[in-house]
């Protein structure tokens, strides 16, 4: 981001700050980076970002790895889009503080309790019960999602069918921010 004019700092947006942080591309510099460097770099950047914006941590992508030919990747691209539109409804799930994202198929679930239970199992955390008045009080986590308008909403407010048709991605927020959202 050194080359950026930092327009983002003054940009007017409706989303949460940093919510569309792009993935960082990195080529490991010779001799200076071991694998542990790469892994710890990822978590270091999270701590720094927590003070400024609260984006999910960027994943480090290594040039030429895994060793899959780019023509092969291009061939599959069309198919992948079909799959997401057709037989599955995969959305990305990020959890504040986790080093990488996951993907789940929303079509597999029939209700909010099923979805929340699956998320709790996947990430080994407790989300707690939803109440219209207090959100997810009583836990450190609040499940949120980005809807078609780009807004970040609390999971549970709208009927299930409306939710899965408008949900583009999930983010499980953590800490004081999460509690704050519930009290709005």
């Amino acid at each position: 981001m050194e080359n950026d004019l930092n327009l983002k700092a003054t940009e007017l947006r409706l989303g949460l700050p940093g919510s569309d942080e792009p993935e960082r591309q990195m080529t490991p510099r010779p001799n200076k980076r071991t694998l542990s460097d790469i892994v710890s770099e990822g978590s270091r950047s999270t701590t720094e970002e927590d003070h400024q914006d609260t984006a999910p941590p960027a994943k480090v992508q290594i040039v030429g790895w895994p060793p899959v030919r780019s023509y092969r990747k291009n061939c599959l691209q069309g198919k992948k889009d079909d799959v997401e539109g057709g037989t599955g409804m995969y959305v990305k799930v990020s959890v504040d503080g986790a080093p990488y994202l996951r993907k789940i198929d929303l079509k597999v679930y029939r209700s909010y309790p099923q979805l929340l239970l699956a998320l709790e199992n996947m990430f080994k955390l407790t989300i707690g019960a939803y109440s219209e008045r207090e959100g997810y009080n009583g836990s450190n986590y609040a499940p949120t999602y980005e809807d078609r308008d780009g807004d970040w909403m609390l999971v549970g407010d709208v009927p299930w069918e409306m939710f899965i048709s408008s949900c583009k991605r999930l983010r499980i927020m953590k800490g004081s921010e999460a509690r704050g959202l519930g009290c709005v």
């Binding site: 010779p30 899959v68 990747k73 599959l76 069309g78 993907k103």
Partner: protein
């Protein structure tokens, strides 16, 4: 006839120089040697004595050059006057993964110019990882009146205009095989350039291209080329069009379908199935883009005699694969995507006892970690059902030492073991230990191992094992592994047959690089990138070993003393003169 038998008869105790020569006229020797096909045997033969060297060079018709910079076209032409077929390989393999700078080299043109002068009767050219322009293709098309076979694999620099030139001018073409190239696809009109009188094509592979071709032209071409045995279509060809082609080409031995997914009426489906069932010679099936499970049964009549099934473009589920494989008992080679998951691989183990080769590619290699894919369980399942397995390429996200030990116990005949645990440096996910014992088991058990790719968290112990046990190893690929120079030193010291070594992101430095000083001249090449090698180390190597080319590729913004990417190879042609500015020859 073995070269050793010939040698014995010449070296009978009572013969002297003159008797020896007169009892074996050159013509006879040449005739005998012309039966030798393997280029390695021929190289051995040429070293026996001067007579044999000469006889061999006059009888050789095919030359294989594994590194285009190891020799010059002039030297080749001087030694082998009667070449009709050339195979040339260019860039280092890691160029497939974008690790080699643009314009690195390996341009075919200088070779073509020499060939046009010295081998006007050239018939075949097979290129891998070479740069080839449209001008070169046009030059090729008009310079060789007998030209028959062109195969381009992982090449770049050309467009469909070059293919049009080939189609237009090569009247005797039997093979046009365009695979996995960085081709500038300007449209499908090139295929219409084959003249109506042209009937000799036996192999046509344009699966690489994405544009629509003129289907009528293709249909007529296939209809009149009665000797066609290999046809690999591109994605733009529909199922209905495929059926029309097959009706006119039931003799096909290898078929690459186009897109396998449009809506078919019942009658169209029946016609397709019928056309496929007439293809009694078909042993290879490829393509199947976007394959929809419901149409796969049309393939069942062909499946019974299939030996090679390439499903690596069809994102099948485990149940779809299982149903298909139930009809493929004779399968020897199978390529799939990891969408089939472990359950799909269980079906492989159950249905394909003759399987010799398995490749499992990741459907989502660059995406964030997803839940699906294959694990160690799938690989183990295959190993139980397929004892003849000797070639595997396996991309997964988790593996254990115990699983690999079981796998090689079931399949001890591995010649090619390429395991890619996609998260770099990942340990055994159950014990959290390094994967050293896994690869230790591979090299201890699989004594025929020729090619090995390692991955996961690995210490120097892995390389101790490799150096100690992998005595037949020729190609080794290493990434994000090792603890110190000692690892690479073990490999350089122990693997006597090593020919190609490619390393990236490992803590091997100058001591490791220089430990191979004596060895590099017996190898084809060494690649080291993002390791701890310095410019001084490379300079020392270049100084000590003048018959090696030591090339360093610098990255922008890196330390001046670091050798970011090093490529070392033996050469009798001296340092190359066509290197771009980013490549320094020391």
């Amino acid at each position: 006839m073995e070269p050793s038998e010939l040698k014995r008869s010449k070296d009978s105790p009572n013969s002297d120089e003159s008797t020896r020569r007169s009892s074996f006229p050159d013509e006879v020797l040449e005739r005998v040697l012309s039966l030798l096909k393997s280029h390695r045997d021929r190289s051995s033969v040429s070293l026996v004595c001067k007579d044999w060297y000469n006889a061999e060079r006059w009888s050789r018709t095919h030359v294989f050059i594994g590194n285009c910079y190891s020799v010059s076209p002039e030297i080749v032409a001087r030694r082998f006057p009667k070449i009709r077929s050339v195979t040339l390989k260019g860039k280092p393999r890691f160029s497939d993964f974008n690790l080699v700078p643009e314009n690195w080299g390996a341009d075919i043109h200088a070779w073509l110019v020499v060939f046009a002068a010295k081998y006007p009767f050239l018939e075949e050219l097979r290129l891998k990882r070479m740069a080839i322009s449209d001008e070169s293709l046009e030059f090729l098309a008009v310079s060789f009146p007998n030209f028959k076979a062109l195969s381009l694999l992982s090449c770049d620099g050309f467009s469909t205009n070059g293919l049009a030139a080939i189609a237009t001018h090569c009247k005797n073409l039997t093979e046009l095989d365009i695979q996995e190239n960085g081709i500038d696809d300007k449209g499908g009109s090139w295929l219409s350039c084959f003249p109506e009188s042209f009937t000799s094509l036996e192999v046509l592979n344009f699966a690489n291209l994405s544009s629509d071709i003129n289907f009528d032209a293709l249909e007529r071409l296939v209809g009149r080329c009665k000797s066609m045995r290999v046809l690999k279509l591109n994605r733009s060809v529909s199922l209905e069009q495929l059926q029309r082609l097959l009706v006119n080409a039931p003799q096909l031995a290898e078929l690459g379908t186009g897109s396998f997914s449009e809506e078919l009426t019942f009658r169209q489906y029946v016609e397709l199935e019928s056309a496929l069932s007439n293809c009694q010679n078909m042993h290879t099936l490829y393509g199947l883009w976007d394959a929809k499970g419901i149409y796969l049964p049309a393939l069942y009549p062909v499946c019974t005699h299939l030996t090679f099934l390439n499903l690596s473009y069809a994102a099948l589920r485990s149940d779809e694969l299982a149903k298909l494989l139930a009809h493929c008992p004779r399968l020897k080679r199978l390529w799939v995507l990891d969408t089939v998951e472990d359950k799909g691989l269980e079906a492989v183990g159950l249905n394909c006892p003759l399987l010799e080769e398995l490749r499992v590619f990741p459907a989502d290699p660059f995406d964030e970690e997803i839940i699906h894919g294959v694990t160690e369980a799938g690989f183990v399942a295959v190993s139980f059902g397929c004892p003849r397995l000797h070639y595997v390429l396996y991309f997964c996200r988790q593996m254990t030492n115990a699983a690999v030990a079981t796998i090689v116990q079931n399949c001890p005949d591995f010649t090619h073991f390429r395991l890619c645990i996609m998260n770099p440096g990942q340990p055994d996910y159950i014990t959290n230990e390094p994967m050293d014992e896994a690869f230790g088991a591979v090299v201890k058990t699989c004594t025929k191992l020729q090619r090995l790719s390692v991955s996961g968290r690995l210490t120097d112990l892995t390389f101790e094992y490799i150096g100690r046990y992998a005595k037949n190893l020729e190609t080794l690929s290493v990434a994000f592994a090792g603890s110190s120079d000692w690892g690479m030193q073990c490999v350089m010291g122990g693997c006597s047959k090593l020919r190609k070594l490619e390393i990236r992101d490992c803590p091997f430095g100058n001591a490791a690089l220089l430990s191979g000083l004596e060895k590099y001249e017996s190898m084809r090449s060494l690649w080291m990138s993002a390791c701890n090698v310095t410019m001084n180390g490379c300079r020392l190597l270049a100084r000590e070993m003048p018959r090696l080319n030591v090339e360093v590729m610098k990255e922008d913004g890196s330390d001046d003393s670091q050798a970011d990417k090093v490529y070392v190879y033996r050469s009798i042609a001296g340092p190359r003169r066509d290197a771009p500015p980013s490549v320094l020859t020391l």
